[in-house]
Symmetry: C2
Subunit: 403 residues, 2 copies
């Protein structure tokens, strides 16, 4: 059951992307995903206190009728975040136009937005483009959609898997933000498996917790982060109440992991992909807190950019994570590639540096893919986080640098 980076079509869904003129440069920026009938859906959203209008709208609709979703309208170019009540009304109006174009109830449409924060929608552009998208719907429009939702992404992000008679496929965008201000991660996953909405929601939440919630580019959580899943049931494969039946949760995890890692690999300005394992914390939340503190440390990230095995910065970041541990028990390994924990070159044991080969350590740190393992020596809980380095290009992209 291998995950593919490609995506063809999924029974029960059609998709189209058009240029509504929302970007500065002409390019498709409006995507409409339509289900052949009202389907089951689930969503995972940003926990930021400042939530964009599309997040507020989708949350309400999924809470109200998660078994009756017909379409998802996605736009780039404007995040519809920090736009107050007018922004919420605009999101509802766009959903209503989409519903009218495809012939369904207005509240059966979800919306996702990415782009500038603090700017209202240019509504006439949406009104004109939505019917054009509805007229262009086709089963194999997914790769175009993956491109149409990109902002600072340099490549489309897709994943699919077919196993035991059903398919799960997804698209995602996310790399960071760009001037004056972009809101980031969006992902849509579709499947032809037949699965109750509450089971889908639970499975999606668990998959996201282990994948999308374990990636770090810059530690800045967006106001718009949204992951939606829609299930058509058209394959006839009935998952039922246990989502692990027919390997559904395993397949969903693989698709989410593929998309999540693709976001990190395409991180703004990223030159290295770093797999960070924390071992033997007291509980998973502690392991994750330490991993996240390391992964967001500018000093750790710039050291990786420089290809320097500056492991002291990793220990220093772990030490300020707010988690109790004994520094004298720390152990640390560096290894080239995306690997399992505690392999490769050991640099630290019992909190004290070993007599390792500095050149070898730096060669590992300068690899395109690096695995770092930090053993806390406290308990039984591990965590893994995927992250990238912090480069000059990140600063250029986000500083809107004018040379």
């Amino acid at each position: 059951m291998d995950v593919s980076t490609d995506i063809a079509s999924v029974a029960g869904f059609r998709v189209a992307s058009v240029d509504a003129g929302l970007r500065k440069q002409p390019a498709p920026d409006l995507t409409l995903i339509v289900a052949d009938a009202p389907y089951t859906a689930a969503g995972v959203f940003t926990t930021n206190r400042v939530q964009a209008a599309p997040v507020i709208l989708d949350r309400a609709r999924l809470a109200d009728h998660p078994d009756r979703i017909r379409a998802v309208l996605i736009n780039a170019g404007c995040a519809n975040a920090a736009t107050g009540d007018p922004g919420l009304r605009n999101a509802e109006q766009c959903a209503a136009w989409a519903a009218e174009s495809i012939g369904c109830a207005a509240d059966e449409v979800l919306v996702m937005s990415t782009g500038v924060i603090g700017v209202q929608f240019a509504m006439e552009k949406f009104k004109a483009a939505i019917p054009i998208a509805a007229a262009a719907l086709r089963p194999d429009g997914w790769m175009d959609a993956a491109r149409a939702i990109m902002t600072t992404d340099t490549r489309p992000k897709t994943a699919s898997i077919t196993a035991n008679g059903f398919t799960i496929a997804g698209i995602a965008k996310g790399a960071g933000m760009i001037a004056p201000n972009m809101a980031t991660m969006l992902a849509v996953i579709v499947t032809d498996a037949d699965i109750p909405h509450d089971v889908l929601q639970r499975a999606l939440g668990q998959a996201a917790a282990a994948t999308f919630n374990h990636i770090v580019i810059d530690g800045d959580m967006s106001t718009n982060d949204t992951l939606l899943a829609l299930a058509s049931g058209t394959s006839g494969v009935q998952i039922g109440a246990d989502p692990s039946r027919f390997g559904f949760t395993g397949a969903l995890y693989r698709v989410c992991k593929q998309l999540a890692q693709a976001i990190v690999r395409d991180g703004e300005g990223a030159t290295r992909f770093i797999t960070l394992h924390i071992l033997h914390a007291d509980e998973p939340a502690h392991a994750y807190q330490i991993a996240n503190t390391i992964a967001t440390s500018p000093l750790v990230k710039t050291a990786f950019y420089g290809g320097d095995a500056n492991w002291g910065r990793i220990l220093a970041a772990a030490g300020r994570a707010g988690i109790e541990f004994d520094p004298a028990k720390l152990a640390l390994w560096y290894e080239e590639g995306e690997k399992e924990p505690a392999g490769g070159l050991q640099l630290v044991a019992n909190g004290t540096p070993l007599a390792y080969d500095e050149a070898q350590a730096n060669a590992i740190a300068a690899s395109p893919e690096v695995t770092v393992t930090l053993d806390i020596g406290m308990g039984d809980a591990p965590a893994t986080v995927w992250t990238c380095d912090l480069s000059h290009d990140y600063v250029s992209i986000n500083g809107h640098y004018r040379t």
Copy 2:
């Protein structure tokens, strides 16, 4: 009672700096500060779980005999952090050599170290240089000392104030870290006021909480951060049990603020000095948590580097700070200079963007000094944090960039 950026001498103290050969380039790197007699001392230390040997040693000595400190030995070039038991024994040995050179008990000497993490001291260099420093002690060596403790700092940081018959003076270093790994903020404050050690400790803790603990360069907390204060009492001005007597706490606050702000202004690669006010949080800890999240946001910091008034990033960072608030109550102001809260150009009211002049907002954001005020609209508690932008030079300095 104005604070000066200069520092001449303080009765009861002598200081010397020599080149012990601890740096890659020849320059004074070892500083010895000696009190004429055992004096009262106080210290504030990093809360990082991974604590350097000098921090462990000083904590123990100040806990044991805060009224009997004769000297502080400070070295650049090696942080003596993540060095295990051998590192602690080395710190004790260096203190013993200093004690021998000046003729006092070994445990009357405190030590501070900054430089590479994870490397043991070159002990023979310390052994040779410490007696040379002891022989060179003089009352007016402070500016040389401020230079000798610098690492990536581009200029020495000094402050002094004389009022009501006593003087408080201090030196500090700190700007960030450099390859392979530097440990950061050190500050020593001396006064000729006569003040009990517990009163000095309380006053120092309060001053640090409002100054050194409210500066952010990159959010990476060092393993070595140490602030020490020594009081000789030679002025004859008796502060007694109330540290605000004779304006002592006010003077101490001014000296600490001057040194703390000097660290931010000299932040690695910094091009802008940003004063960030949070208003109307429920409690000071909430206001500080929001301020700190904004000040450590790479997206906020790169936006300031670019001189873009990307205020959406400030709201987004506030929203992920983990503090409850109502986004519909947010208000935001930008103003040029280091100013009081809520002045200048208002960009946001009631969580919704106002029709402000974009060019004017960008002109403010592109100033060398910018004040940002975010009103949370919840309660009565404010906080102020001083920070700087995130530039290409920060990445170059910390990435050990090799062109």
